[in-house]
Every structure is written in C-alpha cells, then in structure tokens.
C-alpha cells in the first residue's frame, strides 16, 4: 500500500515584470519546468492581465509540454478568452484596468521534465494585451 505524499514534490515560479504585446501570435510570459517523479499533481495558476479594448479579446493559455492547454478544463473553446468592458486610462498596457485569472486542475504526469508555458496574445493584432504578474505552482498529491 502506498501512502499519499501530498506536497512531497512542490514546484513554483513567479514573475512580476509586465509584458505587453500587440501580437496575435502567442508569446510566452513565464515557464515552470519541474522534474517530476510522476503521479498525480495539483497544478494552480494566477496572473494579472489587461487588454486595452472593450470590443475584442485577451487570450491566455498554459501549454503543457508543447501540447495541450491545461487551463482549458472544459475542452471547449479557449482556456482563457475575455473581452474587457473598459479601455484607456493610461498605465503600462494603455489601460488602468487590472483583471485577475486563477484556477486549479489535477493532472497525472509521467516522470521527467515537464514544461508549463504561460502564454498570451491579443485578438486581433494591434491592441495592447498585458500580463503584469503571474504565479504557477505544482504539488504532488498522490503516488
């Protein structure tokens, strides 16, 4: 019988320097690259974002090992797509609005180096989309 080593493996990464993009192609904001022993893990994330328009979208995703978007828990549409209702007001991303996105998902991971890549983009191109700060955490919850 194996015991549940909750927290036996813990990996975390934070970033607090804003990154602004007008790109419609995803760009990477921060990466978490833990070496895991394999098993069941709880992955959680949080980031502060803005999009300087009230009629189009910010799009965010966290890509695991270059494949699936772990934020897209429903497997329907995008992991994070959001249209703000306010634009302008100045500030780093051209708007004074600050929104928060956070979530949790449970993953079964194979052993080895795993890569969680927090990416975002503007839709359409030409509008300031910004991530101001982010944190990603991975905790082993069972063998």
């Amino acid at each position: 019988m194996s015991y549940a080593p909750f927290g036996y493996e813990y990996f975390s990464v934070t970033e607090s320097v804003p990154l602004v993009t007008t790109s419609a192609a995803f760009i990477s904001y921060k990466t978490l690259s833990p070496t895991v022993s394999g098993g069941d893990y709880k992955f959680s994330w949080h980031y502060v974002w803005s999009h300087n328009a009230a009629n189009n979208d910010f799009v965010g995703q966290i890509i695991l090992d270059g494949g699936s978007d772990v934020m897209n828990i429903s497997n329907d549409g995008d992991g994070h797509r959001q249209e703000p209702k306010d634009a302008g007001g100045g500030g780093t991303g051209g708007t004074n609005q600050r929104y928060h996105c956070s979530g949790i998902t449970f993953l079964t991971l194979p052993p080895g180096v795993r890569t969680f890549d927090l990416q975002f983009r503007s839709d359409p191109a030409g509008v300031n989309s910004t991530i101001y700060a982010a944190e990603m955490d991975l905790v082993r919850v069972s063998a």
Partner: protein, 188 residues
C-alpha cells in the same frame, strides 16, 4: 502555433513608445515578405514578432523602430544636459551674494527669511542684524531702505545665476541632434 522568429533590440526606447502606436507604424511601413504578428516589450526591451521575415522586412522594421530610438536619445541627452546646467546653477547660487563687502547665503532654506524680511520691512523694528553666511559677521539694516538695497542685491545675484543657466538651456532646447547637445559646454 506560430512563434516569433525575428527580433531586434531597441534598448534606447523608453516606456513612452506605446505598443499600439508602434504596431500601426510597422503595419503602415509594409507590405512585408513575412507575416508581421505584433510587437512585445518589457520595459525598454522590444521584440518585433515576425513569421518568416525577409532581410528587407528586417531593414524596414529597423527603420521604423530607430526613428523612435533617435527621438528618445535626443530627449534623454537634453534631459541630462538640463540636469547638468541646473546643478551648476545651484552651485553658483549656493555661493551666496555680497553686500557691503560681506557674503550672505542664498541657499534654499534662507530664501523664506529674505522674503519675510522684504514683506515685513515697513512694520518691523530697526535696526535688524542679518548674519553673514559663515556667521563671522553681520550687516546692520537701519531702515526699510537698507532692507530694499539688501534684498535687491540678493535677488539680483539670484536672477543673474538663473539667467545665465537659461541662456544655456535655450541652446539645448534649440538643438536637433545629440551631437549638438553634447557640444554645449557650460562655461560658468
């Protein structure tokens, strides 16, 4: 997922360059052989995101970005020169002013005293002893006429120091290149 495969560094850019403005300028400078996907920046570090850019694309975009870098470099050079002039002006003002052969302070913390003396010159009791900068002596002000002479001497010195800096600042303001700004030497 198209990822940026072209970037240029523009460390002299400052935060005043709005990403949306730069994006539109780069779009307007096209058409391009590759696909322009947007600009990204952290502080002064700018990345131009292109998919399959050509050398000509790189040259065009570099031209657009360099125009901003040049403007910002000139602004930065002017700001630095203004600071240099202000520092020298402050040094000269802090030497004080002379009246009756003695030197009196013009430092920031003494200006309210001077202004207070001026404002109250018709109401105060005379004579007034006013200490020199080093407190080794004093001047005796016997009436409002003495105060006015004393005050005008202070203001005259203060203004001449400021005005000599303004002449230099006019030259800095008129400069259109970094080299012209750098060539301005404070002779004071």
């Amino acid at each position: 997922m198209p990822f940026p495969n072209f970037s240029i560094s523009a460390d002299t850019l400052n935060g005043s360059v709005d990403g949306e403005v730069l994006h539109e300028e780069i779009v307007a400078a096209g058409p391009y052989g590759g696909t322009f996907e947007g600009v990204s920046y952290i502080g002064d570090d700018l990345t131009i995101n292109f998919d399959s850019p050509t050398p000509a694309d790189g040259a065009t975009v570099t031209g657009v970005v360099s125009a901003h870098a040049g403007v910002d470099a000139l602004a930065a050079a002017k700001e630095a020169k203004f600071d240099e002039i202000d520092r020298r002006t402050d040094e000269l003002i802090n030497l004080g002013f002379t009246f009756g052969g003695d030197t009196f302070s013009l430092k920031q913390d003494t200006l309210p005293t001077l202004n207070g003396l001026w404002n109250a010159r018709a109401a105060i009791t005379y004579p007034v002893k006013y200490n020199t900068s080093d407190n080794s002596s004093f001047v005796l002000l016997n009436n409002s006429t003495d105060v006015e002479s004393f005050y005008f001497s202070a203001v005259g010195t203060f203004r001449s120091r400021e005005d000599s800096g303004t002449i230099l600042k006019d030259a800095v303001r008129a400069a259109t290149t970094v080299a012209q700004v750098d060539a301005i030497v404070d002779p004071r």
